[in-house]
């Protein structure tokens, strides 16, 4: 039988969100709801030390006092915090080797395109992966190879067990529990995440990566990532996320903390592809994330993000440029379609002398979505010769979508130079016409133009991710142009 139009239609339908499957894995869940007892239960399940439990309870007390922020340019039904399962762990034995991993789990990873098999790695670039499903880290690869260099790369829970002194010292130092509503919630109920420490002067030979997956129904994912780059070290870190297609809104509230000490460099890339909800805006993940990094002298933090998923995104990866000569960068592509809403951007806090920051944000909105850039550039009094350049462009793909820019620029130093520019427009008819004239279909032409438009950001991504991100952009924008 030949490939018919119906087959094609079906393929296109499925193509929309290819990670929407559910893995049939047995898991252990705790009852719904949030209370001190639940927090004690989570802490007990994870066999945590007393100080961490105290930290959680303190955060919970703070969270109770807080109200949900409303300033973001998004509208959504507020999650019922008593209707969420805060801990769901896949039942697993201790895996001795890769062969012990259950077939269903292997199948899941395969479908998601994660390669854990250290033997079958493609030639050239290696990626060490920490795979987090629902509330716990399932597996981490390349651990032994990394530990030879003194690099610690493990799940957060293992970090707490094996390196409590490091966790205790750095956790909450960049994003304090009092920071905001969701950071406080995360600090109270976080279940797992990744921890990474690069020792002095070490250049991490491979990309480190965490893959987050929500699988169970009715759960929320609250993970925490802590990356510490000691003096003169370098690490490139990747993060990917997906979730099954469901009608309910699931909550993902994460905290990411980066610490770049003197002369260190951290490159943090995210490809966020949580389930965005269906065409009518039903379902999808609420992505409320606090990401922040601190730069000491001559350090550099670079955030790159490709945001295509989530029903509602609320995310501002920030840099505190504390040390002199430190550099902060933010490259972002945010694509929204159908009923998605994104309010994303960055904060660059210049404290040290000669600090530099660059912000490149590209928004693409289609369907009935709303896409906002919200950014803060703050030059403090002591930040002599601080320099900032921001560029935020928005591309409008349909007549029902919205694109907004809300930059905040605060300057208290007379030697600082700040530039901000933003444009909003749609794809030129003439550009599409030009492509069509040369035999490129309009769909292809649009994907070509959008890719070109986002190139500045995509170029910042590590190679494998860049290819993935380009595909993702094309899929996210399918049928978005009427």
């Amino acid at each position: 039988m030949s490939y018919t139009e119906n087959d094609l239609a079906e393929d296109l339908q499925n193509q929309e969100y290819k990670y929407g499957f559910v893995s049939n894995l047995e898991s252990e869940k705790i009852p719904k709801g949030l209370s001190e007892d639940i927090i004690r239960l989570i802490s007990a399940k994870k066999e945590e030390p007393q100080w961490l439990l105290d930290y959680r309870l303190k955060a919970y007390a703070i969270w109770l006092e807080m109200t949900e922020p409303e300033w973001a340019h998004v509208q959504y039904a507020k999650p019922d915090f008593q209707d969420i399962i805060y801990y769901s762990a896949v039942k697993q034995k201790k895996y001795e080797s890769w062969d012990d991993v259950e077939p269903e789990m292997k199948e899941t990873m395969k479908k998601l395109g994660i390669s854990m098999d250290e033997q079958k790695v493609l030639t050239g670039t290696n990626v060490a992966v920490d795979f987090v499903m629902d509330s716990v880290s399932v597996a981490t690869s390349f651990k032994s190879k990394l530990s030879e260099l003194g690099i610690i790369f493990c799940s957060f829970s293992e970090g707490v067990k094996n390196h409590p002194e490091l966790i205790k010292k750095y956790m909450g130092s960049v994003v304090p529990t009092t920071d905001n509503f969701y950071a406080a919630l995360n600090s109270a109920v976080f279940t797992d995440g990744s921890f990474c420490y690069i020792p002095k002067g070490v250049r991490c030979p491979m990309e480190l990566s965490t893959y987050f997956r929500i699988n169970e129904q009715g759960t929320g994912q609250f993970e925490r990532t802590l990356v510490v780059a000691d003096q003169g070290s370098y690490v490139s870190y990747l993060e990917g996320c997906t979730a099954p297609m469901r009608d309910e809104n699931q909550l993902h509230a994460a905290v990411v903390e980066l610490i770049a000490m003197d002369d260190a460099e951290i490159k943090y890339s995210t490809v966020q592809n949580w389930y965005p909800g269906d065409k009518d805006g039903k379902g999808g993940i609420f992505n409320f994330v606090t990401k922040r990094g601190i730069c000491e002298k001559n350090a550099k933090i670079s955030w790159t993000q490709v945001e295509t998923g989530s029903a509602v995104t609320w995310k501002y990866p920030s840099c505190i440029l504390k040390g002199d000569n430190s550099v902060g960068e933010f490259y972002s592509v945010a694509v929204t379609n159908h009923h998605q809403q994104a309010d994303t951007g960055t904060k660059m806090i210049h404290l040290g002398k000669n600090t530099k920051s660059t912000i490149i944000s590209k928004g693409v909105s289609g369907g009935k979505s709303n896409n906002s850039y919200r950014g803060l550039v703050q030059i403090h009094k002591g930040a002599t010769n601080a320099r900032n350049f921001s560029q935020c462009d928005s591309l409008l793909m349909s007549d029902e979508c919205g694109a907004h820019t809300f930059p905040y620029i605060e300057c208290k130093n007379s030697s600082a130079k700040i530039e901000h520019e933003a444009t909003t427009s749609k794809i030129g008819e003439d550009q599409i016409f030009y492509c069509q004239q040369r035999g490129i279909s309009s769909e292809k032409a649009i994907s070509l133009i959008v890719n070109g438009y986002c190139k500045e950001v995509l170029n910042q991504l590590p190679m494998e991710f860049a290819v993935e991100a380009q595909k993702l952009l094309a899929i996210s924008l399918d049928n978005s142009v009427g």
């Binding site: 919205g402 605060e410 300057c411 600082a416 444009t423 749609k426």
Partner: protein
């Protein structure tokens, strides 16, 4: 909130006040709002960078003042003049020979027509707006200018506001209507004489009807102990042009709210602003251009120089509604910081719900180019005059937008007086 005024004064307004064109219901509504409303804090987004303690902690009173010599405040010698002292029209100082085609009266007069009645307060939001409510409740006087259909005014009209006395409050309320096919140039000047810690809370409602062209030059030069909150609420009908040039050169705390609603197609809106600050001044420019109709253009240029411990705030918003296609909106804000104790807060915003638009905004903050200063000095200019020259070149972009020569000359005079160009 009424503690801003003595209760006897409130009674005075209620009994001896006017109804005029400002309907009694509106005053009542405003009073009701004032009963519960609080002064906005820096947690309110629109007042994020402006603290109102200087105003909210004081008690102001309504005073009738007098000024004998206004020659210093006359911006254009060749213009029809209306003088308002502490928000009350002084007829003895104002022109009496207004041309045909212009109706000029006070808002407390009963000459009001049905049309004027329907326009006053039409677009002015009272809910959550303490200063609008305060003005609506307490406005004693203000001028109505109605440029009749097909009138093209050769001469300008100038409204000269003078604040006098200690802890005086002026809730001046103006209404400017530019009828179909008319063309006019209006100047609003805000000055003070022997005034200390006084407060102008002005509201000007402006309606630019079909094919009308209206230009407004606003010069703010009150004493550096005085406060001003001033709102221009503008509505533009189709094929109209509205231009406003706001020049702020003095005042302890100045807040300008410029709200422009473009409801008709093919309109052009120009907003220009310049602010030069020193000492402890705080100037906050809030602009909002709301594009409701398609095929319109708006251009915004605000430039400022801040020195000493002064603070400048710019918050410009361009709002393009759904179906308002083919909008070209451009916004630009440039600042020069001359001192480490000065602060710039800039927040240019775009909120766009239509796809076939070209919108952009830019914001820069920097300082004088030392190489350029060196270049000038190498050619024999003193450092002082080199810097003076560069600052004047920077700010000239905006000043040159003022088309009326007399206004321009007057502004240069003020700059000379206040800064001696020694910035």
């Amino acid at each position: 909130m009424s503690e801003l005024l003595n209760s006897t004064e409130i009674d005075l307004i209620n009994t001896n006040g006017y109804t005029g064109v400002l309907a009694a219901e509106q005053k009542q509504k405003a009073s009701k709002i004032l009963e519960t409303i609080q002064f906005p804090t820096t947690r309110t987004e629109a007042w994020k960078y402006t603290r109102l303690g200087k105003i909210s902690n004081k008690k102001f009173s309504i005073q009738k003042g007098s000024v004998s010599d206004i020659s210093e405040y006359v911006i254009s010698k060749d213009a029809y003049t209306i003088v308002l002292i502490n928000g009350i029209i002084d007829t003895s100082l104002s022109s009496t020979d207004l041309p045909e085609g212009v109706i000029c009266s006070s808002i407390k007069d009963t000459i009001s027509t049905e049309k004027l009645n329907s326009l006053v307060g039409k677009n002015l939001k009272l809910e959550n707006e303490i200063f609008h409510s305060l003005n609506t409740q307490n406005a004693l006087d203000g001028s109505i200018l109605l440029i009749k259909e097909k009138t093209i005014l050769e001469k300008s009209i100038q409204l000269i506001h003078i604040l006098t006395g200690e802890h005086t409050i002026s809730n001046v309320r103006n209404l400017i209507v530019s009828e179909k096919n008319s063309q006019a140039h209006i100047i609003q000047g805000f000055f003070s004489e022997n005034a200390t810690e006084s407060f102008t809370n002005s509201v000007t409602e402006i309606f630019v009807e079909e094919n009308a062209h209206l230009t407004l030059d606003k010069i703010q030069f009150e004493d550096d102990s005085c406060y001003q909150v001033s709102t221009e609420q503008v509505e533009q009908a189709k094929n109209s042009t509205f231009t406003i040039n706001t020049i702020t050169l003095n005042g302890a705390l100045v807040r300008n709210n410029l709200n422009i609603k473009v409801i008709g197609q093919n309109c052009c809106t120009n907003l220009n602003g310049a602010y030069l600050l020193k000492g402890n001044q705080h100037v906050d420019n809030h602009t909002m251009v709301d594009h409701i109709a398609a095929h319109c253009e708006s251009h915004e240029l605000y430039k400022g120089v801040v020195n000493d411990k002064s603070t400048a705030v710019f918050n410009g918003k361009v709002f393009v509604r759904k179906d308002a296609q083919k909008i070209n909106a451009f916004q630009s804000n440039a600042n020069v910081l001359l001192s480490d104790d000065a602060t710039i807060n800039s927040k240019p915003e775009l909120e766009i719900y239509a796809d076939d638009v070209k919108c952009s905004h830019g914001s820069t903050t920097g300082q004088l180019d030392e190489e350029a200063v060196f270049y000038l000095r190498a050619r024999g200019l003193s450092e002082k005059s080199a810097r003076k020259l560069m600052i004047s070149a920077f700010i000239d972009d905006v000043i040159n937008k003022i088309e009326n020569k007399e206004v321009k000359t007057f502004v240069f005079g003020l700059l000379q007086k206040r800064f001696d160009w020694e910035i």
